[in-house]
Amino acid sequence: MTISAGGNAGAQASSAMHHRALKVRSFGGHLVSILVTLFGLLVLTFVIGRMMPADPVRAIVGEDATPDTYRMMYERLGLDRPIWEQFFRYLGDVLTGNFGVAIRTGQPVINDILHVMPATIEMATFAIVIGACLGIPLGVLAAVNKDKWVDHVVRVFSLMGHSMPIFWTGMIGLLVFYAALGWVGGSGRMSGFYIGMIRGPTGFLLIDSLIAGEWDIFYSALNHLILPASLLGYSSSAYITRMTRSFMLDQLNQEYITTARVKGLSQRDTIWKHAFINIRVQLVTIVALSYGGLLEGAVLIETVFAWPGFGQYLTNNLLIGDMNAVMTCVLIVGLIFIGLNVLSDVLYRVFDPRTR
């Protein structure tokens, strides 16, 4: 009896250990796959940046450089070395944080990006809050009213957001809300009058102006932010709405919901306190992934709104053919995407009891 009990306990302990080992192994496998993806990312940016027809030397020395100057720059960039040696050099540069100098600004690319990033993060954060506040309730509403007219209206509304060319909606928005109605500020992050008056610690205008107690600037920044962020948020709400609806339907079809209804729970409590509670974790991961998707819209909307952020930096460098700066931007986007994927995975593991 004791032996069997002991055996049982031993079996339990070993099963727990086995479980932990599995978890470690799955985490290890995860880490390896992330590293492989990161390496592939570098290969891809290297290949696009170096092996395509655009001439990096020409872009730096200009069209009418002497052959000698051209030769010098060619060798300085290491383009006379074998391709694998160039790749390892690139790898070393990236790992030591050396991304080269941007032609347009003469500054290290990474400094430039760090400088413009807050503007984009500020807009994207605002946008994702709007997107989630719009998408999640709409998704729940559509799921609860499945196949009724509300569902169809929500579906078309959210597909509209997904189908509109955001650069065009941005222009129409400026025409209507800025030029015609005067409700919001125009392009840029704040009125020209205030530019340069705030040199804050964070680079986020809303926060910096609050710290400095400059209410005028805060108001101006908010006024300029609200339109592009709303449009970006609307376009990202399509995916959030669709996923929320689909997750909710999964829950609403389950038996515990029927039980809750049978025992007389109100419709509101059934939906929000039972079904919705169970999709929170999935929603967090969806919102995290959408946040990365906003970078795509940011490239276009920043061009329309002359927003001095990451997207505008990327397009400006594209147009002058500074491949080094462009590929660094692309690499950063890839890193952010992978980072968000890992984050959503971690959130899932931490918050979902089934994965424990």
């Binding site: 796959s33 492989v36 993806t37 592939g40 990312l41 290969v43 891809l44 940016t45 696009i48 940046g49 395509m52 027809p53 655009a54 169809h152 579906r155 078309v156 597909l159 509209m160 997904h162 189908s163 509109m164 060319p165 650069f167 065009w168 909606t169 222009m171 129409i172 400026l174 025409l175 030029a179 689909s246 339907l249 999964d250 079809n253 990365g292 998707g293 970078l295 795509e296 490239v299 276009l300 061009t303 329309v304 990327l314 397009t315 594209l318 147009l319 053919g321 491949m323 462009v326 590929m327 692309v330 986007v333 890839g334 995407f337 992978i338 994927n341």
Partner: protein, 298 residues
């Protein structure tokens, strides 16, 4: 009797093959949103074919005495900064849009199917390597990666198409692989293998047809994304180059005159929105028609 039954079943030949298509269309027409999408897409195709008949002006013809005219009787959507008729340019623009969608879809579909089904069926290292590659492509928003490719290749419509195709096969491959994995160990595949069918034959004859419905849905939804990406590239000056009547490029040039001449920007944008929305709605409708698994989830 059997003979007649056989002949009625096989006699129409090509028509019998078309029956599922008719059934799907009939199913789609029952839902107002899918019917709307079919109308828009049908109109798009008709406009592209009949462009020379429907256009009222030469889309490239400049008329500097008639610039920036608001919509009127002679020019129903007005004229642009070079006096070109915007309505005619929009009509000819349908050809560019359809070319982009068509070329991207016929490259991306087969490549995605081939990679996905092969990876799923063969498995092992082969699968791991292919899926790692798709993962790398999937770690970028498609517009950003297209931007990078176009920047490297040089801005032009052809390069934009290549760039979009390069970036849109991975989701198809992922999907085809996932579908393949669900069929791989089923009995009919085992039976085909026992009969001595080669892996290629099994993939082509037994697996690809099973993946087609979901791949078709995905391709349709992808068309909406392709339109937006192409228009975005055109808008940034990296896609179709002026004076081509590409809708995104038209918006880009119209942007300078936007405050006084809204029609330069408004009409091309509406065109992009309508077509993209139509493909999204069609994809949604096709999901209901082709994919019974999704029925209760959707």
């Amino acid at each position: 009797m059997t003979q007649t039954a056989m002949t009625t079943k096989t006699a129409p030949g090509g028509l019998a093959f078309m029956m599922p298509v008719f059934n799907i269309i009939r199913f789609l027409l029952r839902s107002p949103t899918s019917a709307f999408s079919l109308v828009i897409i049908g109109a798009l195709i008709l406009l592209a074919i009949l462009a020379p008949l429907l256009a009222t002006h030469d889309p490239y013809l400049q008329d500097l005495t008639n610039v920036l005219q608001p919509p009127n009787g002679a020019h129903i959507f007005g004229t642009d900064e070079l006096g070109r008729d915007i309505y005619s340019r929009l009509i000819y623009g349908t050809r560019i849009t359809l070319t982009i969608i068509g070329l991207v879809t016929i490259t991306v579909g087969p490549i995605g199917l081939a990679v996905g089904t092969a990876a799923g069926y063969v498995g092992g290292m082969f699968d791991t390597v292919l899926m790692r590659i798709t993962d790398i492509f999937l770690s970028f928003p498609s517009l950003i990666l297209s931007l990078a490719f176009v920047a490297a290749l040089g801005p032009s419509l052809n390069n934009a198409i290549i760039a979009i195709a390069l970036t849109s096969w991975p989701p198809i491959a992922r999907l085809a692989r996932a579908e393949t994995l669900t069929f791989r160990s089923s009995d009919y595949i085992a039976a085909a293998r026992l009969q001595g069918a080669s892996p290629v034959r099994i993939i082509v004859h037994s697996i690809v047809p099973m993946c087609l419905p979901s791949v078709m849905i995905r391709l349709t939804l992808n068309m909406a994304t392709v339109i937006l990406t192409a228009a975005g590239l055109g808008f940034l000056g990296l896609g179709a180059q002026p004076p081509m009547p590409e809708w995104g490029a038209m918006i880009a040039t119209g942007r300078r005159y936007m405050l006084d001449s809204w029609w330069l920007v408004a009409f091309p944008g509406v065109a992009i929105l309508l077509v993209s929305l139509a493909f999204n709605l069609l994809g949604d409708g096709l999901r209901d028609a082709l994919d019974p698994k999704q029925m209760n989830r959707r």
